[in-house]
Symmetry: C2
Subunit: 382 residues, 2 copies
Amino acid sequence: MIKGIRFAGVESGIKPKGYDLGLVLFEEPMNCLAAYTRNRVKAAHILYNRRQKADKVRAILVNSGCANACTGKEGVEDLKTIGDILSETLNIERQSILFASTGVIGKRLPKDRIIGVIPRLLKGLKEKNIELFAHAIMTTDTYPKIVETRFKGKKEYTIVGVAKGSGMINPLFATMLAFFFTDYPVPQERFNRYFKDSVRGSFERITVDGECSTNDTVMLFSRQSDEDEDSLGLFRDSLNKAMKELSLMVVRDGEGATRVIHITVKGARTKDVAERVARRIATSPLSKAAFFGCDPNWGRFIAAAGDAGVPVDPSRVEIILQGEVLVKGGVEVPFDEQGLKGLMNKKDIELLIDLHKGKSSFDIYTTDLTYDYVKINASYRS
Amino acid sequence: MIKGIRFAGVESGIKPKGYDLGLVLFEEPMNCLAAYTRNRVKAAHILYNRRQKADKVRAILVNSGCANACTGKEGVEDLKTIGDILSETLNIERQSILFASTGVIGKRLPKDRIIGVIPRLLKGLKEKNIELFAHAIMTTDTYPKIVETRFKGKKEYTIVGVAKGSGMINPLFATMLAFFFTDYPVPQERFNRYFKDSVRGSFERITVDGECSTNDTVMLFSRQSDEDEDSLGLFRDSLNKAMKELSLMVVRDGEGATRVIHITVKGARTKDVAERVARRIATSPLSKAAFFGCDPNWGRFIAAAGDAGVPVDPSRVEIILQGEVLVKGGVEVPFDEQGLKGLMNKKDIELLIDLHKGKSSFDIYTTDLTYDYVKINASYRS
C-alpha cells in the first residue's frame, strides 16, 4: 500500500463475467517509464499513450476482455472519448490519463459500457484495493499477481507491482501487462536505462508459448517530489527483485502449465549464442511436451540447440538435468532413467546445457506444453 | 514398381514391436542426389553417407526406432561394421551402401540385432515390396506414404517415392526421411540445382511443429544408362509433382493433426517478407490451437505476422479465411462467425494474408495443434 495511490476494480460487462475494468488514481502527478511490445502490430493504448504526458500522470484505466488492437484509428478515438469523460469527472487533464488493454484482438472497446460504469469505479477507489485491480486485468490467469517490497533510503519506500499473464507470453517480452508503483522519486532520464535492464532481466526471461502480444506493456509510476538520488542503487535492486518475482508468477501461471523449467546455457562463445540456444529450447514444443511427460528425452534439447541458428559443436555438449549428468562430450552417459523420471515429476525443473566453448551464459524460464494449453487456446473465445 | 529395384522390410526388434528395418537393393549402380538437415547436430548416417560413393550406390539400409544421432564416432563406426557385413553378404563394395535412421536420439544402434536379421531381410527383397519398406521406416506415422508417377520420354519412365513423418517436422526441411527412385537416367551435375528446388518447393513448404530433426534426409536414386536429356523437363515436372504429393501426405499425417492449413501470404514487398510471415503464422501455437478449435480468431494470425521480424503495416493487412474476408485495411469487417466456424470444421483450411505492399508471395502447409500432439510427445519413449 502506498499513500496517495488508490485502486479500483469492477465488473463492467466487457467480459461475459468477472472483473474486467480497473482504475488507478494518483493524488499527485507521477512520472511514468514504459516499455511496450516489439510486435509491429501495436494495440491502440500503446499508440495513444505515447502521445500523452509521461511526467504528469494522474490516472490509468485498464481493461481485460478486449485488446483494442487492430481497431484502426477508431480504436484510438475510443480512448480519447473515454479519456474526455474521465478527465471531466475527475477534473484532471485528459493528457494525464493513460490506458492499457488486454484480451481478444480485433474488437472495438464497448465504450458506452465503460463510460457508464465510471461512477461505480470511482466509488470503489481505495489505497488497499489493489487486489480488485489485479483481478480486473486478468484473462486466462488463474490467480491475481501482486508483489510488494520495501527498502530504506532517506525514508522507507515501497514498490508495489501487479501483472497479468498468461498466454501470448513470449521471449523478448513476456507479459501482456505489468504495472509498478513506488513512492520513491525516480530520476527519470537517469533511470530509463536501468528500467529497461530490469525488464530485460525479468519479463524478457520468461516464455510460455513463444507468442508476442500486440499489447505487452510494463509501466513504472513514481513520485516526483523529495529527491533522494543516494538511494537509487537500493531502489534499483528492489525493483529488479520485484520484477523478477512478478515475472516468475506470470510464467508459473502460464496457460496450462504444470511445471516451470529454468534453462541455463553456459560455456558459450558469446552471450548471443547462449541466448539463442536457451530461447530455442525454451520454445521447442517437443522439449516442452517431454517435460510434461517427465521424459528425460535429452535428444530433443540437443536437436533444438542445433537448430538455434548459431554454431554448436555437438561433440562438446554437456547436459545436466535436475543435477544429473545425462550427456558428456555429446554422447549419453549411463543414468538411472526411472529415478530421473521421478526427479522430473516436480513443479520446478533445472536444465543446464554447457556448450564448453567459452564463458558466456544465459538463462530463461519456460513452461511445459500440456493438454490444458491446447484446451484453453482451442476455445478461448467460445 | 521399377525393374531392378527391390525392397524389403522386417521386424528386427529395434522397436518394441512393428517393422523397423528396411533395405533397398539396386541391380545396377545408381546415382544418388541427397539433401540433409540444416541442424548443426547431424545423425551418424549423414556424416557417414557423405564419405561414400554417390555415383555407385547399390543399396540403402534404413531403420526406424533409433536415430543414431549424438552417438559420437561410435555411431559412425557402427554403420561401418554393419556395412562390412552387408558388403560381404551381397558381394558389393562397402562404399556402395548407404544408410538412414530415424527414431530416438542418443541411443546406439543395436548392431548385432541388425546384423542377425540381414539374411531374413535379403530373403524378403522383391520389386513389389515397397509397402513393407514404407512400414519399416515409420515412427509415429499412422500410415505408410508412397507415391508413384510415370512420364513418357524416349520410353516410359517411373518415379516412386516413399517417406515417413510425422513429428520434428519443421520449416526449411520438413520430413525426416524421403526416398525417390527412378529408372530415368538423371544427369547428376546438371540436375542437382533442380533437385534442391524441388525439395524447397515441397518438403520445405510443410511444418508440423517447427522442430528441425537431426536426421532429415531426402534422396533421389536414378539409373545411369540410356541418356535421354531431352526428357529432363518432363522428369523435373514429374519429380516436383511426386515430391509435393508426398510432402502433403507427411503434413496430413502430422502428429495429432486433425486439419491441414494452407497459408498463403501475398502482396509482400519481397519474397523473404512473405516467407517469414507465412512461416511465423505456420508455427504459432496460438494460431494452430485456434484451427483445432474452429475459432476464426484472426487476431492471433495478425499478431504472429507482426512478430515475424519483418516490416508489416497492420493498416493494410487483408485476411481471407476459407474464402471469407475477415479483415480489410487491418480492421475487422462484419462476418458470420457461426457460419465461419462451420466452414473451419474441415480437414483442409485455406488462409490468405494479403499485406498489400508489393507483389511477392509464399505459401506453406501446417497442421493444427491438438491434444494428441501433446499426448504423443509427452510419452513417445515410455
